[in-house]
């Protein structure tokens, strides 16, 4: 209980600092810390899968996205003056929330209704129907597998939106690519437009410690991603986390060396295709069960003994592919803007 409170106090403090900080670059780094603290809280609250995801997404991807966006905009927030009306809204909301939650079951109460309706059937069924040790995976991929199809679709939708906005990075455009990359995540080559970028006296790829450690780390990161992909049945992990970690490995390489090097291995057009393939793999699994005569996403159609296993394997793979490809594609979008694709509106 005390650990929870200590971490929560830290979370509050970091949140306040993020809100107050005028240096957006520092604030972006702090959002990473914020996520790590949250991940710590999730772990203590027994939500290991959520912690894993938060660490990978919040501390990893979101921070990279913020830094990329900051590289293309500006890193200083103008002094924000205090405003009364928002404070009033916040106070009212806070009052309502505290009033409303005051007769909620207490934190950690084993008698709370949510532990006695529906949930016990998941705990039993995960062992007897689905044969999966990690109940989160059982619920995520099978009992509520349709939500997860929706989740992959959300990721896909965001990818479509970002591609609509930030241009297509396929082929050609190497010249712009170079410039765009240097202007953002690869950190500037010093003499960029004044006021737009922070001073970077030295390119990251010229720092030997970074070069060597990254080269050593990346194979392990990618390997770990595959392990996480396969391990979701037995412990925390699964397609989403694996996809993020895989992408993080590639993004790390791009950050230290050159986004273009990543683009040669994993061209943006391929990433775009793979996002769609991932979604279709998930949805296709559902269509396959339909064609076999069952309900949508009823994996029992793949065989009573281990059909659930095959089904979960297929959809988790779909999630992994779609997420990894999306994250890489987002990274490209935020590290290079393609002027010939983007016609500035009048």
């Amino acid at each position: 209980m005390w650990v929870e409170l200590l971490l929560l106090v830290l979370v509050v403090l970091v949140a306040v600092v993020i809100a107050r900080l005028g240096d957006l670059f520092a604030a972006a780094m702090l959002t990473g810390i914020f996520s790590l603290l949250c991940a710590g809280l999730y772990t203590i609250m027994d939500a290991v899968d959520v912690a894993f995801t938060e660490a990978a997404v919040g501390a990893g991807i979101t921070t990279v996205l913020f830094l990329g966006a900051l590289g293309m905009t500006s890193t200083a927030e103008r002094q924000q003056r205090f405003r009364w009306r928002p404070l009033l809204v916040v106070v009212l909301t806070g009052g309502a929330l505290m009033w409303g939650t005051s007769d909620m079951p207490a934190f950690g109460d084993p008698a709370a209704p949510i532990h006695h309706h529906v949930e016990p059937e998941y705990l039993e069924g995960a062992a007897s129907d689905i044969h999966v040790a990690n109940v989160v995976t059982a619920v995520l991929a099978s009992y509520r597998g349709y939500d997860t199809l929706g989740e992959v679709t959300v990721v896909f939708t965001a990818a479509v939106g970002v591609m609509l906005l930030l241009g297509r990075a396929a082929g050609g455009a190497a010249r712009h690519w170079r410039r765009g990359a240097d202007r953002s995540l690869g950190v500037s080559e010093g003499a960029a437009e004044p006021g737009e970028l922070r001073d970077a006296p030295m390119l990251m790829r010229e720092k030997p410690v970074l070069r060597v450690s990254v080269r050593l780390l990346i194979p392990f990161i990618l390997l770990f991603a595959l392990y996480v992909q396969a391990h979701g049945d037995f412990g925390p992990g699964g397609g989403f986390q694996a996809g993020v970690i895989f992408a993080a490995g590639l993004i790390l390489f791009g950050l230290i060396f050159d986004p273009q090097a990543v683009a040669r291995v994993f061209p943006p057009a391929v990433a775009e295709t793979l996002i769609a393939v991932g979604v279709l793999l998930y949805g296709g699994t559902g269509v396959a069960t339909l064609l076999l005569g069952g309900k949508f996403l009823d994996y029992d159609e793949f065989g009573l003994a281990s059909g659930q296993h095959y089904g979960i394997l297929a959809v988790e793979l779909g999630v992994g592919i779609a997420v990894a490809a999306t994250m890489v594609r987002l990274y490209f979008a935020f590290s290079a803007l393609h002027p010939e694709d983007v016609v500035e509106p009048q």
Partner: protein, 133 residues
């Protein structure tokens, strides 16, 4: 681990505080990227709230344990359902962040600023110039 000693709702109310900090940042700040950071904090608080609902005092993470010889007492697991829901919510959050940042990058290109009040002023001048023309 003495849950009742803390009055039962302190965790929830600390989380509400986090939510409010995010909400204030979101609506009071002019800087669009700062707004998105506020949105992130706001959404994280909701995730924290859900996850805290699923916690059972003395429970273990919902990964089924092999029965151990000699132990007959059932294992107490924390509730996996909020975890599943919040995995989805975190993903929704990062999707929204990515899209919002992409829009902000384009706003910078179109207006040369990402401060909401400055953009408003630019549009106002634009409108006035048009109505005079």
């Amino acid at each position: 681990m003495s849950a009742p000693a803390m009055g039962g709702h302190w965790v929830t109310w600390m989380i509400v505080l986090v939510l409010l900090i995010g909400l204030y940042t979101l609506i009071a700040h002019d800087n669009l990227i700062k707004k998105i950071m506020g949105l992130n904090i706001f959404q994280s608080a909701v995730v924290l709230l859900y996850v805290s609902m699923g916690t059972v005092t003395g429970g273990t993470p919902p990964v089924l344990l092999e029965p151990t010889a000699g132990v007959t007492e059932p294992v107490l697991y924390s509730n996996p359902v909020p975890h599943v829901l919040m995995l989805t919510a975190i993903v929704v959050g990062v999707a929204i962040t990515a899209l919002a940042l992409a829009i902000v990058v384009r706003i910078q290109g179109a207006y040369g600023t990402i401060e909401e009040d400055e953009i408003g002023a630019i549009e106002m001048r634009h409108d006035e110039a048009q109505s005079r023309a």
